[in-house]
């Protein structure tokens, strides 16, 4: 049976290849830092389960030390010239598009296949495993059809990853910070503060505090999942559900979506907001957040209104 372990091995090999190719790139003055950084990520993917908690912690400290002291960076250039790209695009045409679509199509088909046919792959991780298989198939078809130099996919992949840089591990770092926050009981303290700030006897005031609290605490934590239990314990359960007899399904469902509006507005949700800015090579790292605020704020107001209208 295929498990997430297979995907971790694949990712570990990819990071190891990026590290070695980075080390060999003499045009980059920061090649040793790059190689160490991606080499540590390869180690984490391949051997993380054998390092122990403290060992993994030391690995993270090393990653932070390398990136935090500015030891990683990208070499200039390396792209295929635009006119050559255009010439090849005219030759290959829809073949390129079809290969690109292999990844989502296999992810889609595999998700259903692994759920319907038990025993092939871990059904809980069906989409991630299918995505990885899709990558392998797309790569095989691409190599066969386009006949590029053998190392070209890894070299170009490395160039794209170097452009993203340390932001590539920001989402994983923030998720880990959330675990430390939970351990320290940060949520309970924030919930108590917000719970204490609500004017007594005002239903709309309580709904407003719940909705805004979900959005604000999500912005701080970068994740609505972290905000939800806290705001439910502080406001949702004692006030909205028990005191005002609100419908718990509405309060929970739309409260979570109010939190998602916060996700659209915070750099803490790095994988959604900062990573795409790096991936699209935007000059402003907050460009994606700026484009989202105009949707997030009115939608937050709508969510608060929906809770008030539908739950009571």
């Amino acid at each position: 049976m295929i498990t997430l372990g297979f995907v971790y091995v694949l990712a570990g090999l990819a990071f190891a290849a990026f590290a070695l190719l980075g080390l060999a790139d003499r045009s980059n003055p920061k090649r040793f830092g790059n190689a160490a950084f991606w080499g540590l990520m390869a180690t984490s993917m391949l051997a993380g389960d054998h390092l122990g908690d403290f060992g993994n912690g030391l690995l993270v400290l090393a990653l932070v030390a390398i990136a935090g002291t500015g030891q990683i960076g990208r070499a200039p250039g390396g792209e295929v010239p635009t006119d050559l790209q255009a010439e090849r695009a005219a030759q290959q045409g829809n073949v390129l598009l079809l290969i690109a679509l292999i990844i989502p199509v296999v992810a889609l088909a595999g998700t259903f296949l692994f759920k319907w046919v038990p025993g092939l792959a871990d059904p809980k991780q069906a989409t991630l495993i299918s995505l990885a298989i899709g990558v392998l198939i797309a790569l095989a078809v691409g190599m066969a059809r386009l006949r590029p130099p053998a190392l070209l996919p890894l070299q170009q992949g490395r160039r794209l990853l170097d452009a993203v840089g340390w932001a590539a591990i920001l989402p994983q770092m923030l998720a880990s910070l959330g675990a430390v926050f939970a351990l320290a009981g940060v949520g309970e303290v924030v919930g108590g503060l917000i719970g204490g700030a609500i004017p007594e006897g005002s239903l709309f005031g309580a709904v407003l505090a719940f909705g805004l609290g979900m959005a604000l605490f999500t912005m701080v934590m970068g994740n609505a999942f972290a905000a939800f239990p806290v705001m439910m314990a502080a406001v949702g359960l004692p006030l909205l559900i028990r005191h005002y007899n609100g419908d718990p399904a509405v309060i929970a469902a739309i409260g979570m979506l109010a939190g998602f509006c916060g996700t659209l507005m915070t750099p803490m949700a790095a994988n959604f907001n900062l990573v795409p800015a790096a991936l699209l090579e935007l000059k402003n790292p907050y460009g994606v957040i700026r484009a989202q605020i105009g949707t997030a704020l009115p939608l937050l107001a709508v969510n608060i209104l929906f809770i008030w209208l539908f739950a009571f």
């Binding site: 794209l160 920001l170 989402p171 469902a253 969510n303 929906f306």
Partner: protein, 228 residues
């Protein structure tokens, strides 16, 4: 109260634009110390969480495929497809992607599309081409805004589609939490109550996409008048 120091460090660190990895580590250490943990325990807790969340970083395995296809002109091809479609305006293109992303997420297919898989190789260059069809001289700033909106559209579609799916993590979290409080609720009820917001998200973001399209087209006339 003292444990909130970690939040203060995060906010200050992001505002002062220190390296976020350093800020996160400082915040974790300060929070743990404030809660009475010793340094070794904090490092171990962080390391365990880092190892448990490795799946977050596996998306980068798609980069060799994207790099290969881009070297052979995928972005140019995506652009030329839009150039040939007469009805493909910027607003319609992104609104169509928004609807597709919401629909796929609503049936649980959240990882099928995404910033690395679809936005960078396909949606962003197509959006640029659609904007260029109405404004042949996009400024660098306009190009940035179009690309940022392509990424934003992916996020809005994902966030306000996924909660309609029964077996998504957030629904399971809601069910688990309310079970603990003594309220037995079928996951379907959470799913249904995600639909009004999904519709509102499509309308609000779709309206903003139309305005983006108009804004991108308008500047061209201004420029022409200025040139004439």
């Amino acid at each position: 109260m003292l444990v909130l120091i970690g939040i203060a460090i995060i906010i200050a660190g992001f505002l002062l634009r220190f390296n976020p990895l350093l800020v996160i580590m400082a915040s974790a250490l300060a929070t743990g110390l404030a809660a009475g943990l010793d340094i070794a325990a904090i490092v171990a807790a962080f390391g365990k969480a880092f190892n448990d969340t490795r799946y977050v970083s596996i998306i980068w395995i798609v980069l060799p495929v994207i790099g290969l296809l881009e070297a052979y002109g995928l972005q140019q091809h995506a652009r030329s497809l839009i150039d040939r479609m007469k009805g493909a305006t910027l607003g319609r293109l992104l609104a169509g992607y928004l609807l597709l992303r919401q629909a796929l997420s609503a049936v649980g297919l959240t990882s099928v599309a995404g910033h690395a898989q679809t936005v960078r190789p396909l949606v962003a260059p197509m959006a640029e081409a659609a904007a260029e069809a109405k404004n042949d001289a996009l400024t660098g700033e306009q190009r940035e805004e179009v690309k940022a909106f392509a990424a934003a559209t992916d996020n809005v579609g994902l966030f306000f589609g996924e909660d309609i799916f029964l077996a998504i993590g957030s629904i399971l979290l809601m069910k688990g939490l309310l079970d603990g409080y003594g309220y037995q609720i079928e996951p379907l009820h959470f799913s249904l109550w995600a639909i009004p917001t999904a519709i509102a998200a499509f309308l609000i973001h779709g309206f903003r996409l139309r305005r983006l399209e108009k804004r991108m087209a308008q500047k061209r006339m201004e420029k022409r008048e200025a040139g004439a």
